[in-house]
C-alpha cells in the first residue's frame, strides 16, 4: 500500500492541478435587504467584502485570494488537454481536512474564500457529494459565512445542484468549448448539450425560482420600499436581453454563475464562436461573466505537441467580453471588425471599433456627445462618460484637456477622437493620408 500523502503534499499536487482554473476574487457583497442566507448570529465567522480583496499576487500578476485546489485529481474522463492524463500522484482530500486547512489559512488573512473544484472520481454525483460535505462542514461546523465558489461537475444531478446553490456564492460549470463539435474535438466523453448546457439552464431556473419566492415573501412583509429596487435589479433587462444590473443582490447565488473556456485547444474554434457562446450565455442563462484560459500544452497528454495559444488572444477575448457586457456593444458590432478567419484583429478591439465609427462620423465634442457616443471613444469608460454628462448637466463646459483628464479620461487614447474648442489633436494620420482624413478636412473647413 502506498504512503498516505500529507496535507501539504495534497495542497502541492491538487493546487497545481487546479492552477489553470480561473476565478476572480470575491465579487460578492451580500445584500442586507433579504432574510439572511445563514441567519444573523455572532457565531458566524468571515465576511464578504463588496470589492474583492486580494491577499497576494502570483508571479504572473494574477491575484490569489481564494483557497484554490482540486478536491480530488482522480478522473474517469480523459480530456485531451488535461493534466489528469499525465499526473501519476492521485489523491483526494477528506472533507474535514479540506475544511480545516481552509480555516487555518483564513485565520492568517491570506485567503478570502474558497474555490472548490474537482476531477470526476467514480461519478459526478459521488464527487459532488464529497465536495458538498466539505462545504457543509465549513458552513455549519466551522461557521464560515464568507465566499464560496463551487465548481459543478459535468452531468451532476439536479438535487445536488440545488444544494450547492444554497451553500455557495458563485457556481460555475466549465463549458471548455463553444459548441458540441469543438468540445468533441478535445473532450469526446463529455456531452455538451446534456452535461453542460442543460446544467447551466438548471442553475438559472433554480435561481430565478428562489428569487421569485423571496420577492413574494418580502411583499408579504410589506418591505416594498427596497423591494422596488431589488425587483428591478433582479429582473430588468437591457434591450439586447442582457441583465441590466450585473450585481443584482439576489438572495441566493449572489455572485451568479460563470463559465470557462479553454482557448486554442480545439483547432477550428474561432474567436467569433467563443463570443457567440458568451453572448448566448448572457442572454439565456444569466451568465455573470466568462473566463478564458489560453491552452498550454502539458507533457504526457495527447495535445502535448500542440502549440500553446498566445496569451494575447485570451486578452483580446476579455476585452471583447468587456465591450459586450459593460459598454453595451452588440455582437454584430464586433463581427464587423473580425478578420477573415473570424478571429479578433491584433490590437484593442475598442480602438478598431472606434476607427470604424469615427471614420464616418468624425471626432466628437465632449460638450455635445451623448453617453453612448462618448463610450465609443477609446480612453473614456462608463465612469468618465457618466462624469462628463453629470458635469455638463450642471452647466460645466469642458474647455481644456486637463478638465477631461480630471474626470478620468485617458487622453493619449482619446485625443484622436475628440474635438475640443472646435479643434482636434493632430495625429500622425493627418500627415499620412490627408485626403482621406475627415478630421483634417473638418479643421480646414
Amino acid at each position: 500500500m502506498g504512503k498516505v500523502p500529507s496535507v501539504l503534499e495534497k495542497i502541492r499536487i491538487l493546487g497545481e492541478n487546479s492552477k489553470y482554473d480561473i476565478c476572480a476574487s470575491t465579487a460578492s457583497s451580500r445584500t442586507n435587504k433579504y432574510p439572511k442566507l445563514f441567519g444573523d448570529s455572532k457565531k458566524w465567522i468571515g465576511a464578504t467584502a463588496s470589492a474583492g480583496i486580494c491577499h497576494s499576487y502570483s508571479p504572473d500578476g494574477r491575484c490569489m485570494s481564494l483557497f484554490k485546489t482540486l478536491y480530488t485529481n482522480k478522473c474517469i474522463y480523459n480530456c485531451k488537454y488535461c493534466f489528469s492524463q499525465s499526473c501519476r500522484h492521485k489523491m483526494s482530500f477528506t472533507p474535514e481536512e479540506y475544511a480545516r486547512t481552509f480555516m487555518k489559512l483564513y485565520s492568517m488573512n491570506v485567503v478570502e474564500g474558497v474555490f472548490i473544484s474537482s476531477a470526476v472520481c467514480g461519478s459526478a454525483d459521488d464527487t459532488t457529494e464529497e465536495m458538498l460535505e466539505a462545504i457543509r462542514l465549513l458552513r455549519f461546523k466551522y461557521n464560515f459565512r464568507g465566499y464560496v465558489h463551487f465548481k459543478c461537475l459535468p452531468g451532476v444531478s439536479q438535487y445536488l445542484l440545488k444544494e450547492a446553490i444554497s451553500l455557495s456564492d458563485r457556481i460555475s460549470i466549465n463549458s471548455e468549448a463553444s459548441t458540441k463539435e469543438h468540445l468533441a474535438e478535445i473532450a469526446d466523453q463529455k456531452d455538451f448539450k446534456n452535461d453542460i448546457i442543460m446544467r447551466q439552464r438548471w442553475l438559472k431556473q433554480i435561481r430565478v425560482k428562489h428569487n421569485d419566492e423571496t420577492l413574494k415573501f418580502m411583499k408579504d412583509l410589506k418591505q416594498d420600499n427596497q423591494l422596488k429596487y431589488q425587483e428591478a435589479m433582479i429582473k430588468e433587462r437591457r434591450e439586447d436581453g442582457y441583465k441590466k444590473f450585473r450585481w443584482d443582490g439576489a438572495p441566493i447565488l449572489n455572485s451568479g454563475q460563470t463559465t470557462q473556456f479553454v482557448v486554442g485547444a480545439a483547432e477550428s474554434e474561432s474567436d467569433y464562436d467563443l463570443l457567440k457562446r458568451i453572448d448566448w450565455g448572457y442572454k439565456e442563462i444569466d451568465l455573470r461573466r466568462a473566463y478564458f484560459s489560453s491552452f498550454i500544452p502539458i507533457e504526457g497528454t495527447p495535445l502535448a505537441s500542440k502549440q500553446a495559444a498566445p496569451l494575447t488572444r485570451e486578452h483580446r477575448l476579455y476585452q471583447s467580453d468587456w465591450l459586450l457586457r459593460i459598454y453595451h456593444y452588440k455582437l454584430k458590432d464586433l463581427k464587423e471588425i473580425l478578420t477573415e478567419d473570424n478571429n479578433l484583429p491584433i490590437g484593442d478591439p475598442k480602438i478598431h471599433l472606434a476607427r470604424q465609427y469615427f471614420k464616418d462620423h468624425g471626432p466628437v465634442d465632449p460638450n455635445l456627445a451623448g453617453f453612448q457616443e462618448l463610450l465609443k471613444v477609446p480612453g473614456i469608460g462608463p465612469i468618465s462618460a457618466k462624469r462628463i454628462i453629470n458635469l455638463r448637466s450642471r452647466k460645466f463646459k469642458f474647455k481644456r484637456r486637463q478638465d477631461l483628464k480630471a474626470v478620468g479620461v485617458v487622453l493619449k487614447r482619446a485625443d484622436p477622437y475628440l474635438l475640443l474648442n472646435g479643434t482636434n489633436q493632430t495625429t500622425i494620420q493627418n500627415f499620412i493620408d490627408p485626403n482621406n482624413s475627415k478630421f483634417l478636412q473638418r479643421e480646414i473647413v
Binding site: 500529507s6 496535507v7 501539504l8 495542497i11 502541492r12 499536487i13 491538487l14 493546487g15 497545481e16 492552477k19 489553470y20 455572532k42 457565531k43 465567522i45 468571515g46 465576511a47 467584502a49 463588496s50 470589492a51 480583496i53 486580494c54 491577499h55 497576494s56 499576487y57 502570483s58 508571479p59 504572473d60 500578476g61 494574477r62 491575484c63 490569489m64 483557497f67 484554490k68 485546489t69 480545516r100 486547512t101 480555516m103 487555518k104 489559512l105 485565520s107 492568517m108 488573512n109 491570506v110 464568507g146 429596487y229 428591478a232 450585481w247 500553446a308 496569451l311 465612469i383 457618466k386 462624469r387 454628462i389 453629470n390 458635469l391 450642471r394 460645466f396 480630471a406 474626470v407 478620468g408
Partner: protein, 220 residues
C-alpha cells in the same frame, strides 16, 4: 459600500467611483496625516458636483488625500498577516501612517466577531485592540505584552491544535502550486504590488517579495 440606484438619474455614477460628498470628506479627511483644519473651509466652498467629479485642482487634491486614506486602510486589510492563539486572540502587525486603525480593526472584528483582535502599529508604537463587543482601545505597549495580557482572561479554545503544519508552510505550498511559468509576467507582478506594501510588517517575511518562487532578496 452600498450601491444606490437612482431611477430619475440613470447616469449618476454609483459605487466607489462616484466620488465623495461634503459630509464624507469632512468626516474622513481628519484621518489624513497631513490634514489641516482650513482644508474643511475650502471644501465647503466647492460645489458638490465639482467635488464628486474632481472638477478643479483643489477638488482633485482633496480626493487624492481621501484616496490615500482609504487605500492605506484597504491595503492593511489585504496584506496584514494575522495569527490566532489558542485563546481566541487574533493578532498581527500593521504600519499605518494615517488614522485608520479603527477601520482595520472593525474589518477583522466583522470576520472574527468572537475573537479579540490586537494590531500593533509600527508607525505609532501603539497596539489597537477591539474586543468581542466591538469596543476599541489603543494601548501604548508592545504586541507581545498586550496579547499575553488579554489572553490571560480567556479560556483555552483548541481551535487549530490538530493541524500539524504551520499556517505559513501551508500558504507557501499553496502559493508555489499556483505558479504558471508560461504566464510569467515580471513587470505586471511588480506593478501589482505597491512599493509601500513591501514596507508592511506582514510582508517582511517575504511571502510576496518573490519571483519565480524565489524571494526577491535572492536576486539582490
Amino acid at each position: 459600500m452600498k450601491k444606490e440606484i437612482n431611477e430619475k438619474d440613470p447616469l449618476q455614477v454609483v459605487g466607489c467611483a462616484k466620488g465623495h460628498s461634503h459630509e464624507e470628506l469632512i468626516h474622513n479627511l481628519p484621518r489624513h496625516y497631513n490634514y489641516t483644519p482650513n482644508l474643511i473651509q475650502k471644501i465647503k466652498e466647492i460645489p458638490e458636483v465639482i467635488l464628486r467629479n474632481s472638477g478643479t485642482l483643489i477638488a482633485k487634491k482633496v480626493n487624492r488625500m481621501m484616496r490615500e486614506v482609504t487605500t492605506e486602510a484597504y491595503r492593511s486589510k489585504q496584506f496584514t498577516r494575522t495569527e490566532m492563539n489558542n485563546r481566541g486572540v487574533l493578532f498581527g502587525v500593521v504600519l499605518l501612517k494615517h488614522r485608520v486603525m479603527d477601520l482595520v480593526l472593525k474589518y477583522f472584528h466583522e470576520r472574527w466577531p468572537e475573537c479579540i483582535i490586537c494590531l500593533y502599529n509600527e508607525h505609532s508604537g501603539k497596539t489597537g485592540i477591539i474586543n468581542e463587543r466591538g469596543v476599541i482601545q489603543e494601548i501604548d505597549s508592545t504586541l507581545k505584552n498586550v496579547v499575553e495580557g488579554v489572553s490571560k482572561n480567556h479560556s483555552v479554545i483548541p481551535y487549530f491544535d490538530d493541524i500539524q503544519f504551520s499556517g505559513r508552510e501551508i500558504f507557501e505550498t499553496l502559493y508555489k502550486s499556483q505558479f504558471i511559468s508560461e504566464r510569467e509576467n515580471q513587470n505586471y507582478f511588480k506593478r501589482m504590488i505597491p512599493d509601500k506594501c513591501f514596507e508592511l510588517p506582514g510582508m517582511r517575511g517575504g511571502v510576496e517579495k518573490r519571483f519565480r518562487n524565489k524571494k526577491i532578496n535572492d536576486y539582490l
